[in-house]
Amino acid sequence: MTRFIVRRTMQMVAVLFCTSVFTFLIFQVIPNGNPALRLAGQTATPQTIAAIERQWGFNKPIYVQYLDTMQKVLTGSVISYSQQINVLAEIRRGLPATISLAGGAAVIWLLAGVALGTLSALRAGRFSDRALAVLSLVGISTPSFVLATALLYLLAYKVHVFPLSGYVPLTQSPWQWFLHLVLPWFCLSFIYVGFYSRVLRSNMLDTLREDYVRTATAKGLSRRRVIVGHVLRASLIPLISLWGLDFAGVIGGGAILVEVVFNLNGVGQYAAESIQTLDVPPVLVIVMYGAFLVVVLSAIIDVLYVVLDPRVRLNA
């Protein structure tokens, strides 16, 4: 186990390094991406642009710039080009909202996806399975922001049930925190529920045909024991992978559209703005933070594989 942790940690450092270098280089590829041009504004003269370049160090060689920026990132003093505010402080400000949104939604979509997928598999071929199939596919084909718009229109314009927008911290008022997050949770989970239920259904149908399931039933185990104890455990493996990826993605800022529509001021919103303005420092930090989360969650998922299926041996 320790070897596993050590190895994964080394790999994570490698990942973070590669990601940061790649991000830095990508901005060089973008034509007219010289930050001085944007900082200088529309009425800039070549003189102003040169002054900005000197001030910010944009005229230094690229590896020098990279090292400078990384040093600032690691000491927590990196500031954004466009607003000149501390990037890490901004991210910390947005984290509670993003974690609340991502965490809640992730739990909902996993439970709902498993429940609906199981239901579909057990009633395979019958009407309820078909209906759930259509519903799942509608869910996957609906962009989250369309759903958000429609829901808010229906549940707030026609019937005033939910609040408008914004995020209320849990510490300030648990009820308001919950109320403000219900619609965002729903919108975010809707797509994933559809996806997960289809994948789980397919896996379960495969597993139900396996010999050991037949054996377990023949041994006299109750249907429920068979399903939960044997079938579900084996079928969950691919689903757990997906869940790990999706959760990492959402916490790393993937819930951009939902955050913007509901004005939650989370990390996703900040990431979107920074990409829009091609602001290197925040993008760099957020991408690294996202990569970090993905690697950590991947490691956790790999451990879960062993728990779910004892035949899997990890030597990596």
């Binding site: 790649f22 973008i30 078909r130 084909s141 369309v146 990569a291 993905v294 991947s298 990596a316």
Partner: protein
């Protein structure tokens, strides 16, 4: 002879038991594929949805015919200040406040117009060609590379798995939006040159490759997980015992067991690709205006969702029907191919 009697006919095909078998008792076997085709023919639901999908494809291919003969207007022809006759009255195609007309249910503007006065029905069909092309190309890229990478990583484990898995992590952690902007802006100003190949800035290969690439980890990781479990199974040990090479084991033994996952994922990735393409086109890396695609039609119609919902519902509805068609037909094919699928045949 007694040995043979209890077995199903198909399994007798190809069995040789030496001199006991007399020539006229050789029963012609039926290949598994013909059996699958037979089973598929009996699966009416799957066939129905398959036809639905083909109908949609055919309609999209016939877009020029519809545009020319039925609607009389091209997909990119603007008509902001034009008027048409509705119930004998002359009506602005786009109102002074920028709100387009709704469905007329006639040949012209069957589903209504969009903010630039273009015919939604015509754009729907033309857009379908683009969306379907991108969706399928991207999904093909994702599935081929995703399965290959997942298979290799899960099977070999060790260093190979370490490197591949971390690469997948990086790809996944990377905001597609940023890649889109980078590629989009550089292409907007010059096109892409790879060796002898020159790809124009507005080629649909670009969003297809980009989307396909971005989704690879989404397929590779679950596949890898499944392979990690499958490689410990008895039939893999058996194959090794028969001195099968690694590649042969991966392709002949493990891969077929991944077929359910592949079949389930494929239409889901197609849908995701069509939608992701819409976001990328806003950054210049997808379908460039004025060309249409279902995703961009949804995006453009969103601001007017409350006054003109048909702008979102029409392309959205088509998308759902298409994905539904592929999905149900795909599962029908998978069920037909699977010799043990007795559960689903008894309808």
């Amino acid at each position: 002879m007694a040995l043979n009697q209890g077995l199903p006919r198909a399994d007798r095909a190809g069995l040789l038991l030496g001199d006991d078998l007399v020539a006229d008792e050789v029963i012609p076997g039926i290949s598994p594929y013909r059996l699958a085709a037979r089973r598929l023919r009996r699966d009416r639901t799957a066939l129905g949805f398959g036809c639905l999908f083909l109908l949609i494809v055919a309609a999209c291919l016939l877009a020029p015919v519809y545009s020319h003969d039925v609607a009389g207007i091209g997909p990119n022809v603007n008509n902001v200040t034009g008027t048409i006759q509705v119930n004998g009255r002359s009506v602005n195609v786009v109102s002074l406040q920028g709100i387009p007309i709704g469905p007329t249910w006639h040949a012209r503007y069957f589903f209504g117009a969009d903010t630039l006065g273009r015919d939604v029905a015509v754009r729907l069909l033309y857009g379908g060609r683009t969306s379907l092309a991108i969706g399928f190309m991207a999904a093909a890229i994702t599935m081929i590379f995703g399965v290959a990478v997942g298979l290799v990583a899960g099977y070999y484990r060790g260093v190979v798995d370490g490197v591949l898995a971390r690469l997948l992590d990086i790809i996944w952690a990377y905001p597609a939006v940023l890649l889109g902007v980078a590629i989009g802006t550089s292409l907007a100003l010059g096109g892409l040159k790879i060796g002898p190949l020159t790809i124009q800035g507005n080629s649909i290969f670009i969003p297809a490759f980009l989307i396909g690439f971005v989704y690879i980890p989404y397929v590779a990781k679950p596949i890898r997980g499944q392979v990690l479990a499958l490689r410990e199974r008895e039939f893999v040990d058996a194959a090794r015992g028969l001195a099968c090479g690694n590649v042969r084991i991966m392709v002949r033994e493990i891969l077929p067991n991944l077929s359910s996952t592949i079949v389930v994922f494929f239409p889901l990735i197609v849908a995701g690709a069509i939608l992701l393409e819409a976001s990328l086109s806003f950054l210049g890396a997808g379908v460039q205006p004025p060309n249409a695609s279902w995703g961009t039609m949804i995006q453009e119609g969103l601001p007017l969702l409350t006054t003109s919902p048909q702008l979102v519902l029409v392309p959205g509805g088509m998308l759902v029907l298409t994905v539904l068609g592929i999905n149900v037909f795909g599962e029908g094919v998978r069920d037909a191919l699977d010799p043990k699928s007795t559960i689903r045949l008894g309808r």
